[in-house]
């Protein structure tokens, strides 16, 4: 079984190629026709705003007067004033926010992946109430983040929050915890809320992958008497890997840009700020469009590097052919 999976990526045999080349050419033409609408829409709605952000990152633009700015090269990133190095790359607050974000992403996405697989496997099993369960796990996602973050903030209140009360009653803690007031626990609280909210995203995508798996493999494994755990690691996991990777990548993209959640839980506190909070503070609160755009561009670069590493680690080749 596993060897069949491993061979799935082998390309079309040589002799078949020549015979179908005209067909292939016409298919390639239709491919471009199929992709064009999406590309045009994306270029229209995203092209201009993104190009503008990158351009502004090399200027001293200010929100106060966006039409009057000067090109200043890399000064927003790194500049030397009278022997003193300034700019984003020398700002410890920026690097602290980078670290916070990467830590938050690593921890929350890891937990969500494991939990998401478990939830998907449960939902894939036939049991009464499965439909209800599927609706239930989506509920955390249905409540807008601005509300659910405030709700958790309230529930995590040290004096009249229900979480402390619950944990005290269950005897899990001895004294009320100050969840969001302390930088260390605050990030964990953010992870918990993120897991609560986004596990369903993972679970549903993995579930869709599970449901598209060919059933006969399992039949064969069952006949051979392979243990379910072995079946999962040897058959299921490799088969759902592409979908799992896409889910992990998109979840990481969101987590790396986390804003509302941490903002509502701890506001502008430097100890817990994420990259997006930093960028937003520069762009909006401080009106430094130049510096804020530079931070946004760096966020883009950091995320791009992380995605490329993830894709490489997952051995994904983007130009892959169908199995």
């Amino acid at each position: 079984m596993t060897s069949a999976v491993a061979q799935g990526n082998v390309s079309v045999p040589q002799q078949a190629r020549g015979r179908r080349s005209s067909l292939t050419r016409s298919r390639i033409r239709s491919a471009w026709a199929f992709i064009a609408p999406s590309l045009i829409i994306l270029a229209l709605i995203a092209g201009w705003p993104l190009a503008r952000t990158i351009w502004f990152s090399f200027t001293d633009a200010n929100l106060n007067n966006l039409s009057d700015y000067e090109f200043i090269g890399f000064e927003n990133y790194l500049a030397n004033y009278d022997g003193e190095w300034l700019g984003l790359l020398t700002d410890p607050d920026w690097w602290h926010s980078v670290w916070n974000t990467v830590w938050f992403t690593l921890v929350s996405v890891s937990i969500e992946t494991v939990l998401g697989i478990i939830v998907a496997l449960i939902l894939n099993a036939a049991f009464p109430g499965r439909g209800l369960m599927r609706a239930i796990i989506l509920i955390p996602w249905a409540i807008p983040t601005i509300v659910s973050a405030k709700m958790w903030n309230w529930m995590l209140h040290d004096q009249f929050g229900v979480i402390n009360d619950l944990l005290l009653r269950l005897g899990l803690i001895a004294a009320p915890m100050t969840w969001t007031a302390n930088a260390d626990t605050a990030l964990w609280a953010a992870v918990m809320v993120d897991v609560w909210k986004h596990t369903s995203f993972m679970a549903l995508l993995i579930l869709a992958a599970l449901q598209m798996l060919p059933q006969d493999i399992y039949e064969a494994a069952k006949v051979d008497g392979v243990s379910p755990i072995r079946v999962f690691f040897r058959i299921t996991l490799p088969l759902i890997k592409p979908a799992l990777l896409v889910a992990v990548i998109f979840r990481s993209l969101d987590a790396l840009r986390v804003f509302d959640l941490i903002y509502v839980l701890t506001s502008n506190a430097r100890d817990t700020a994420s990259m997006s909070i930093y960028a937003r503070q520069q762009l909006v609160d401080f009106q430094e469009v130049g510096l804020g755009s530079a931070a946004s561009t760096l966020i883009f670069l950091i995320i791009a590097i992380i995605v490329v590493i993830t894709l490489a680690a997952g051995r994904v080749r983007l130009g892959e052919d169908p199995r």
Partner: protein
């Protein structure tokens, strides 16, 4: 007063004669609830009088979101909102997009609280009109002060001691979750207002003085922060480091704190029908730093300003003058307990009847300390962010006061590099 009526009549007359060109003015007011109702009644009265129409545009409740939305609209030169309701610290930030009201507002402006007028000016020009005032107050539990036979604290040392006595006493009686003093310690603008009160009451200045000099690195400011840091974990729950107004009101109104620092809004709620502490609450000016300190509540409140991109700036200005005028401010004080910015209204009998503690507030407002928004202009948010982050570090015991203030001084001077702009 006659002058006011005269200018008013004149404006109304001009508009009445021009009513053939009746225009529509958009104003940003609070979204819902009583504040919205009161705002609507006010603009409707003006609309009826002038023949124009007024559309209320709801804006977010959260100050940061509201400012962000304003900036987005103004930076794009959008004329969708003519009249903006702005916070007292935003005048400098938004000034470049606002209409100079110096000429038209000159007649009325001297009637307003000087501190509020100061927040409306940028480089000597009047960019907004004061609408209502706010200031930090000390809320106390009268019943508990009586029980432990303590007076209303006059200094922070008094407050610390009284808070400790009451807290210990109440806890001995089995109320383990009782605390002495709650305030707003989250890393946001509210912490700037709290910390400024401590620093100013000790005589430690206002972070940046009127001339734009950075003054925060001084022993009195350090002493003030040391006092505040001493509360955290003793008379104040550690969680206060993430409290905003509503979280601290939650603890106080549930009867779990002896003292609270908050804005005047909490009064009506604490005395509400369903409040557990109804009839047991008093308000006072915030304590002094020491015998030679002073009572200092941070000035808050809202102003009205006219957008430079408005297509009907004259009518919009007229609306602003009407809404901030004596008659409308009085109505708002009586019906909505909005604190007027016109000094003479504090001795008004009708307002006193509707709002018995209004007389006490006039002292608080006249002595209120303004945040350094005027001096720092467009950089105010940076200054405030640096300040509350430094204070937050001290409160969470991650830095010593002197050390944190030294760093703050350096950072603020770096922001100031080429002047405040």
């Amino acid at each position: 007063m006659p002058r006011l009526i005269a200018s008013f009549g004149l404006a109304a007359g001009i508009l009445a004669s021009a009513s053939a060109w009746a225009v529509e003015i958009s104003i940003s007011c609070s979204a819902l609830g009583k504040e919205h109702e009161i705002c609507k009644q006010g603009v409707d009265a003006w609309a009826k009088r002038t023949g124009n129409t007024v559309k209320i545009v709801s804006t977010p409740n959260s100050a940061t979101e509201r400012l962000a939305l304003y900036q987005q609209l103004l930076a794009a030169g959008a004329s969708d909102i003519d009249v903006f309701q702005i916070d007292v610290v935003w005048t400098g930030i938004l000034a470049d997009h606002l209409v100079d009201l110096s000429a038209k507002g000159a007649a009325d402006i001297d009637d307003h609280l000087p501190a509020m007028v100061e927040t409306s000016r940028v480089n000597g020009k009047l960019m907004a009109m004061p609408w209502f005032a706010d200031a930090g107050l000390l809320y106390y539990r009268q019943d508990l002060l009586d029980k432990y036979k303590r007076p209303v604290p006059q200094t922070w040392a008094d407050l610390t001691e009284t808070a400790r006595i009451i807290q210990d006493g109440e806890r001995k009686e089995g109320r383990g979750d009782f605390w002495g003093y709650v305030w707003q310690g989250r890393a946001y603008e509210g912490l700037t207002t709290n910390a400024l009160e401590w620093v100013a009451s000790f005589g430690g200045g206002t972070v940046v003085d009127d001339k734009g000099e950075v003054t925060i690195e001084n022993p009195k400011a350090a002493e003030a922060l040391k006092t505040a840091a001493g509360w955290v974990g003793t008379v104040t729950p550690e969680g206060v480091l993430n409290y905003t107004e509503e979280e601290s009101r939650g603890v106080f109104q549930a009867g779990n704190a002896a003292f609270m620092r908050n804005w005047p809004y909490a009064w009506a709620l604490a005395q509400g029908a369903d409040s557990t502490i109804k009839g047991k609450v008093g308000i006072a000016p915030l304590p002094k730093g020491g015998p030679d300190g002073r009572h200092a509540g941070t000035l808050g409140g809202q102003l009205l300003a006219v957008s430079k991109y408005s297509k009907n700036a004259d009518a919009a200005t007229d609306l602003v003058l009407y809404l901030t005028g004596q008659q409308e401010q009085k109505r708002r004080a009586v019906e909505g307990s909005f604190n007027p910015t016109i000094v003479s209204l504090y001795s008004d009998a009708d307002i006193a009847r509707a709002n018995p503690f209004i007389g006490d507030l006039v002292d608080v407002f006249t002595n209120a300390v303004a945040r350094p928004a005027t001096a720092t202009g467009q950089n105010y948010n940076k200054v405030s962010t640096e300040f509350f982050n430094a204070v937050h570090q001290v409160l969470s015991k991650r830095a010593e006061p002197a050390q944190a203030l030294g760093r703050l001084d350096r950072d603020l001077k770096r922001i100031k590099r080429d002047g405040w702009k």
